[in-house]
Amino acid sequence: MSRSALTGTRIRARRTLRGIRQTDLARRVGVSPSYLNLIEHNRRKVSAPLLSALATALGVSADALVEDSDARLVEGARAAALRSDTDLGELERIDELIGRFPGWAAVLADTHARVERLERVVEQLNDRMTHDPYLGDALHEIISAVTSVQSTAAILNDDDALAPEWQDRFHQNILDDSGRLAEGAVALVNYIDSAKTGETGIAAPQEEVEAWLARQEFHLDIAERPSLDGAEAYLATQVELASGAARQLAATWLAQMYADAQAIPLRALRDGLAEHGMAPDVLAAHFACGLDVVLRRLAHLPPAFRTELGLPVAGLAICDMSGTLLFRRPVEGFPFPRFGGGCPLWPLYQALRQPHMPLRTKLVTAGRMGRRFTAYAMAAVTGPARLDAPPVLRATMLLLPEEGQGPDSAAIAVGASCRTCPQLDCAARREPSILVAGG
């Protein structure tokens, strides 16, 4: 049965769906009920003006009542039927299904399309698991560390008469491998999270911007120039900024860096650093500017400049009032989560409770191989002052690496995110860690 012959069936289906009696619809469109009955049983063709009147009366477009508008549904339902193992003798009645139950047919076609999309994702992930060199290497690294830990722990456990020097040596090996294991697990989680964007093949705009900044070691020469003329053309040529949203976001950060450079020009910053060192609060007083400006400036120093002055790479995190991370400049030993919020114990979030109050906190990353940092954080109101509206705050945290490793009673133990944090008895924990069984 051709679809063109099914217009009547669709008219009938729409009419019954709306609970309109045949006689009432006939009256509304100016034909006799018996003529409409013939049309609905596909025994009379419908003229264009009548089709239009019927469509209006039924509250649908005329296209919805004729064949071509249903082509997608037909193809979708047919594809679903052909993929099924069920012997569908009703396949030839597919037009009737669509004519009578267009909503259900749409559900069937959409479900089938979704299954196909998901199957493609599964294939991609499977392919990735099998052939992805990074994943292979990451898993190899983790399995090697696990092997070493397991084998060494078994020796320590089984051999009561183990000489003290061997005991020390094996304990050290386990400690080293545990550190490798934790780092490998974090890297793997971040990587697997990143694969989730593979479904669309597009990274989030924020990630595009961060990849672009990372390539330039988070310093933009263009932000140090006297003006931002030509910035738009410059951003258009940056390969990492693939999406319009990413370019727009990059323009915002570039404008921020430019404003910061205007507030503290590089040469002055260099003199200030030579005089005061990496002391953000002192530098803010020296330059008579906000601490947040100094924090951002210190995280975006030119690499050559850092080398010359012997300054460390500083990490930077910026979040809004919801705690969402807007900007991440990673620093070794303190990996930021790619998705979701960070550790609730970060001073970044504490700063939101006390706007304009600068905080300095010693941090150590949780775990036996914990890395130490000094964090400087402050939240400030952004945008113009508005009456009768909540203030919009943004918190900034700079992380400066410190000497030493391992737990430090004078420091607050924090994680990157709950998923990769080994601190189990943490009151702030919001989800289980993957680093323990059952996590």
Binding site: T130, S144, V146, T147, Q150, S151, T152, I155, D177
Partner: protein, 123 residues
């Protein structure tokens, strides 16, 4: 009784140290190489009684080493236990095709390695 000699080709120092300790404790004389080329030279000059071979090595992988060993008369029948983090079927098949004696995936139980080595040499 003459001590049996085993060569361990493994680039992870902590793993090779653990293996060396376990096997030494079980009466083996253990040599370790982390590099495939150096290991091949040692195997040619003084073939051991058994070989423990990691699959993923820098420069020359375990398959390549095994291929070389099986092509040369002195090491054609050398018992080889391949230890690897790669446990995929294709790797097992290739290792079998190249003439591996035993294939074991990491992480392994220490006793399993000792027992596998013992069985290989005994048979």
């Amino acid at each position: 009784m003459v001590q049996k000699r085993v060569l361990v080709i493994e680039d992870e120092p902590n793993i090779s140290e653990a293996i060396r300790f376990i096997l030494t404790r079980n009466g083996w004389q253990v040599d370790v190489e982390a590099d495939g080329f150096a290991a091949l030279a040692r195997l040619r000059s003084a073939p051991p009684d058994a070989l423990i071979l990691d699959l993923m090595l820098p420069d020359m992988d375990g398959f390549e080493i095994l291929r070389n060993l099986r092509a040369e008369a002195p090491t054609r029948d050398l018992p080889v236990l391949m230890l690897t983090a790669k446990g995929q079927v294709a790797d097992r098949d290739l290792a079998a095709k190249l003439g591996v004696t035993r294939f074991m995936t990491k992480p392994f139980a220490n006793a399993e390695v000792v027992s596998a080595l013992h069985d290989m040499v005994a048979s």
